[in-house]
Symmetry: C2
Subunit: 310 residues, 2 copies
């Protein structure tokens, strides 16, 4: 049990799996490979919401109640910025801004996002290795009846009310995996795909040339279902499955991952779907996958890992 574990992850659901596995296996064994497709520039700052959710969760700083941002947060900066004509549709708390300021200043000096993220993790006492999928610019856009929208405009500004008819990863074609990403995947005893949104959280990671191939070559890739009883714990995934033409349920997700995964982790509530998953050529593992409560994560992670590693 001393080998590495690599986890592809988005924001909230992803961070909870990373936390669960880190608690179960030891954080030093874990490399989290995070989505940057929903990064944005706001008030001149580079914001990486998914990476930050992972960092805040692991550092014990996340507002767990809300599922984003820093707990015990204040909003003085955004309030005055809004009064002065600054964009304020994306909530940036004051403590949160401290991180964005440090990151943005370093990016502007030419440092890669992966190096900055590594230093932020260390400064926050996070022992999990947190890597962006790429240091290059990659942005997720969704096609809707209102036109193509950048991810955060669709998700936050318009409250993901527009049906998603397509997804595009701008910049993916020329993006390179961040240093350490392919190596972490290749050296891992198992690669986990977190219960994040396959289209807008995991999709942008797999769209970076080289990453999908590394997963296809890996002997043990386990995807954890983000749908439990046909519903996402949070977020618009169930609706997106339908509007994008996929079966809305765990089996539909398993089908999306059939070419990269070897194992598919179903929630105990979906145990009845194990046969359908097996029919896709994936080994089904049925476990409790709900990791909302921090105190349950270690045990959920332990049992999930036991099921995946066999």
């Amino acid at each position: 049990m001393s080998e590495g574990l690599a986890i592809l992850c988005g924001g909230l659901g992803g961070s909870r799996l990373v936390d669960s596995i880190a608690q179960a296996a030891g954080p030093e064994r874990v490399t989290a490979i995070g989505n940057v497709g929903d990064d944005l520039e706001l008030l001149g700052l580079h914001v990486s919401p998914d990476l930050d959710t992972v960092l805040y969760t692991l550092a014990g700083l996340l507002d767990e109640e809300r599922g984003w941002g820093v707990r015990q947060e204040t909003y003085g900066a955004l309030a005055l910025a809004e009064r002065l004509g600054g964009e304020a549709w994306f909530t940036l708390g004051d403590r949160d801004l401290g991180l964005h300021l440090v990151r943005t200043a370093r990016l502007r000096r030419g440092e890669p996002l992966s190096a900055v993220t590594g230093d932020l993790a260390r400064a926050l006492g996070v022992s999990v290795r947190v890597l962006p999928a790429t240091d290059d610019r990659l942005r997720t856009f969704v096609t809707t009846e209102a036109g193509e929208l950048d991810f955060q405009t669709w998700f936050v500004r318009r409250r993901h009310e527009d049906a998603v008819l397509g997804v595009r990863y701008e910049g993916a074609g020329s993006a390179r995996p961040a240093p350490g990403v392919l190596e972490a995947i290749e050296a891992a005893a198992a690669v986990l795909v977190a219960p994040s949104n396959p289209f807008v959280s995991i999709g942008p990671i797999l769209a970076v040339p080289g990453i999908r191939g590394a997963l296809e070559r890996h002997p043990l890739v386990a995807a954890v279902s983000p749908l439990v009883g046909g519903e996402a714990l949070r977020g618009p995934l169930a609706g997106m499955m339908a509007t994008l033409g996929h079966e809305a349920g765990a089996v539909g997700v398993a089908r999306l991952y059939a070419d990269v995964a070897d194992v598919f982790v179903l929630d105990a509530a979906d145990a009845a779907l194990a046969g359908e998953v097996a029919a896709l050529g994936l080994r089904p593992v049925v476990r409790d996958t709900v990791m909302v409560e921090p105190q349950r994560r270690r045990e959920v992670g332990r049992r999930m890992l036991e099921g995946v590693l066999g």
Copy 2:
């Protein structure tokens, strides 16, 4: 009494004169021409401490007790930034950061500081016209036995403990007055030089080519003494007068302004110095000049203006 009044000003002392005159004469008549020599870049943000003190004072947002920053302030951003390795020696409050964020984003888009400052003032409900002396980069450096230091390193980081042996305004030679500065001076019924530090607050303004000449040509320029009973209300001026080789007292300041001013306003505590001021060719006006308490400013401004306008 419908003509304009132009005021050259630094931070705290300057902002109080601007507030006093604005309350006495009506804010629409007043143009404040502010110092940018102590501007700095911190955490990737452009901070203009003197302009901000003027804006915050006029908007009723200044922490009057402390003399800088916004009242009812929090410090969440700086605390997390410091934990993440960001520079934190210059205190930036959260609300304050909201302004710096908006300004910096606009400057980075290529807008001039004067346009941004005007918009910030309007957004804060400030009717005084607040202009930076220049839109160009101008930075004050002081020579000390520890070497040449930029203004904020000397003033804040090293707590102005190093004796000042010289002052240099970097960039002044090629700086141009911001749009409206010369026009405001020329059209003013009177130009006031605020009771700010002559070397590091007023000096950088007068160093912008064209501004000193405009004052020399103006028939009524009144400088208000920043020294009362030989001491500054706050700040290192008295010591600087000595180490820079000037007589430490109101008469020493009057001598510094003899070539640009026509009137010199002495505090009532220095009434005995009126003769020495007159001997420099300046018309002495003796008035109460202490404007610390906001509720006294209107009356102090009214009486000062009456003395200056004659």
